[in-house]
């Protein structure tokens, strides 16, 4: 475990370098971009000074990195708030959305994968596999819009934007976005889960269990699912990066005020420091959660190395 933490350090450094480079090596003058074409040289100079871009690059980098442990991620000129204040306000929403989405995906995906695996090569399996092919190609923004059109506007069952206040309200507001996220992930989840389920179902210990005369239910819960869910957790962990990326699009479609949506508006309005800060947050988030999942996985499985059964 310690080894993993140590391994993460160069990556962290790399992340800071990249986010820094992202913004500071961009062609054009950030100050001018913010202030516009008509500004006088004095204004530009003063803005440049405010942004700190009149200092040499290494110094700017140091300033950037040293502020990080103190939680200073920069300042959003357009929104007139410090980045970390913005992040603190909006990150929870994004995390909530992603967790919600994963939950729905798992609730939908596990039964589908189970049905598909147990009825392998039969009509239902073919139908599910066929839908997966289609599902993989469905853009999340499109399905999100359709859900809005139908369930939000036409039926009026769910609100079409915002994230609500309070747990229940949030669950209601974020249902459609979470569903959209889940649907975009579902195809991959079911496909991988189906594969690992088939391997599990094939295992000798399942035969042993059947021959013991156990009820079907018991066989599934104690033998099949337990062994198939471990890879499912891994699948979710590996796709975390993708999920966070997809949440950016989903947040935009549904006008959810999470960090993804904020990132997009920041990019569109050339709010470089904000972009930098949020990109950094995303990367650190992925890193941290990956580590956490790794550790939990190791702790949960009875064996340090789980063999592929």
């Amino acid at each position: 475990m310690v080894r993993r933490l140590v391994q993460a350090i160069p990556v962290l450094i790399g992340i800071t370098l990249v986010t820094f480079a992202m913004v500071h090596l961009v062609p054009g003058d950030p100050a001018r971009a913010l202030v516009g074409q008509r500004a006088t040289p004095e204004i530009i100079a003063s803005v440049r000074h405010q942004l700190g871009v009149d200092q040499p690059l290494p110094q700017q980098y140091w300033h950037f990195v040293s502020g990080l442990p103190r939680g200073q991620l920069g300042y959003s000129f357009l929104l007139r708030e410090s980045t970390d204040a913005l992040v603190r306000a909006r990150l929870p929403t994004t995390i909530f959305l992603v967790c919600y989405g994963v939950l729905i995906a798992v609730l939908l995906g596990v039964p589908l994968a189970l049905i598909s695996a147990t009825r392998k090569e039969r009509p239902l399996d073919h139908a599910i596999k066929g839908s997966l092919v289609v599902g993989l190609g469905v853009p999340s923004f499109w399905i999100g819009l359709l859900l809005i059109a139908f369930f939000g506007l036409r039926l009026g069952w769910f609100p079409v934007g915002g994230s609500g206040a309070g747990l229940l309200d949030q669950l209601w507001h974020l249902f459609l976005p979470a569903l959209t996220l889940a649907l975009s992930f579902l195809a991959v989840l079911v496909r991988s889960l189906r594969a690992s389920l088939i391997e599990v179902l094939d295992a000798d210990y399942v035969d042993l269990a059947v021959l013991k005369g156990l009820t079907r239910r018991r066989i599934y819960t104690r033998h099949v699912l337990r062994n198939a869910l471990i890879p499912a957790v891994t699948i979710v962990g590996l796709n975390l990066s993708y999920l966070l990326g997809a949440s950016v699009v989903v947040e935009t479609v549904f006008s959810v005020d999470g960090i993804g949506n904020t990132l997009v508006t920041a990019v569109l309005s050339r709010d470089y420091q904000l972009v930098q800060g949020i990109a950094l947050v995303f990367a650190v988030l992925v890193l941290a959660i990956t580590l956490a999942v790794d550790i939990t996985q190791a702790a949960l499985s009875p064996r340090g190395e789980l063999e592929t059964v």
Partner: protein, 352 residues
């Protein structure tokens, strides 16, 4: 030694398993490919019968057919399997599996795959013992510990909370055997249980199986590609090739007086302590890949005694001695009745 179930009802002479005319086919697409053809076999209580064959001969399929765990795509096309009178093939598989005792249990080749890696062995054993519905949990626990100790797992009680990965391969196989025997089966199907073990562990496991099954009068169908192992353990041997019985008879008889070229070749290729061999004879050619229901003897392309008739004539098992049958057409030609034995082995046939 406690054996809670009433094995006294199994008498030595009774027939435990009767397989008659079994046909298993593979339904690949629209074609049906025969996997097993006309298999006849009887097992009495307490008898250990071996089934020997190369990979692809159908020997594992035989076990699975009896256990009603054929993989999807395979189906029984004909014949019957009777377990102590019960028609195994009739009705749903659960009917067979839910028998509280005197049913069928199976042990497998790969000890790692045969145990659920995320369940303690204690849970798995207790599950097996309680499955019949006759024992309470504490009783099942006691019985499991008993069985494990009988199978040579020391400190069984404290090891009940361990996971499969904490045991060696040989130990895992013993656990698998105790799980199988917990159900007090009438027939134990052993599908290459020793193939993944080293020689000394193999020997120990075989001896254990022999003892424990003798105590309980459990019949054993022991399937393997390894003739030496089978010859060691089994009283009778069925030699399988391309899904068909080539020879069937008592194990010593087959060793000294086999009456089928395939069996003879198998035995000849076994290294022997008794006499030196400069080259290990191998059987030329490859086993058939299945997919053809070709007429004639399936072994004829590789048989040194093959004649024209072997290519086309239908294959039948005929008696060549007491409780000894062979499917070879040319038995009389290859092994004429009285021939002075030259080196104590009477299976050297006439040169082709």
């Amino acid at each position: 030694m406690t054996a809670a179930a009433d094995t006294g009802t199994r008498t030595a002479a009774e027939v435990a398993l009767r397989i008659h005319g079994l046909q298993v086919v593979s339904q690949a697409g629209s074609r049906e490919v025969p996997i097993l053809r006309d298999i006849d076999l009887e097992l009495r209580n307490g008898e250990i019968v071996g089934v020997v064959g190369e990979s692809g001969s159908g020997k594992s399929t035989l076990c699975r057919a009896v256990a009603r765990r054929l993989p999807s795509g395979l189906a029984v096309r004909g014949g019957s399997i009777r377990l102590r009178g019960l028609d195994v093939l009739a009705g749903k598989p659960e009917r067979l599996h839910r028998l509280p005792q005197d049913g069928v249990r199976m042990i497998f080749q790969d000890p790692l795959k045969a145990l659920n890696p995320v369940m303690t062995i204690g849970d798995q054993c207790i599950e097996a013992a309680m499955a019949g519905g006759t024992l309470s949990r504490p009783e099942a626990l006691a019985r499991s510990i008993d069985l494990l100790e009988r199978m040579g797992i020391r400190n069984a009680r404290s090891r009940m909370s361990d996971y499969p990965y904490q045991f060696s391969g040989g130990q895992r196989q013993r656990i698998v055997v105790s799980i199988a025997l917990a159900g007090e089966p009438a027939v134990l199907l052993a599908d290459e249980p020793t193939s993944a073990l080293d020689v000394s562990t193999q020997a120990a496991l075989l001896e254990l199986i022999r003892q424990v099954c003798a105590e309980r009068n459990t019949a054993v169908l022991f399937v393997s590609h390894n003739y030496a192992v089978v010859a060691q353990l089994c009283s009778r041997i069925l030699v399988l090739y391309d899904g068909r019985t080539m020879e069937l008879g008592p194990s010593e008889v087959l060793l000294s007086r086999s009456r089928h070229p395939y069996t003879a070749a198998l035995i000849a290729s076994l290294p022997s302590i008794d006499h030196r061999v400069t080259r290990l004879p191998a059987i030329p050619g490859q086993p058939p890949r299945g997919g053809e229901a070709a007429p004639g003897c399936p072994f004829h392309p590789r048989c040194r005694y093959a004649a024209d008739a072997c290519r086309t004539a239908p294959i039948e098992l005929r008696d060549v001695g007491p409780a000894h049958q062979s499917a070879c057409l040319r038995v009389d030609a290859i092994w004429p009745a009285s021939r002075p034995g030259r080196s104590g082995r009477d299976d050297e046939g006439v040169e082709p």
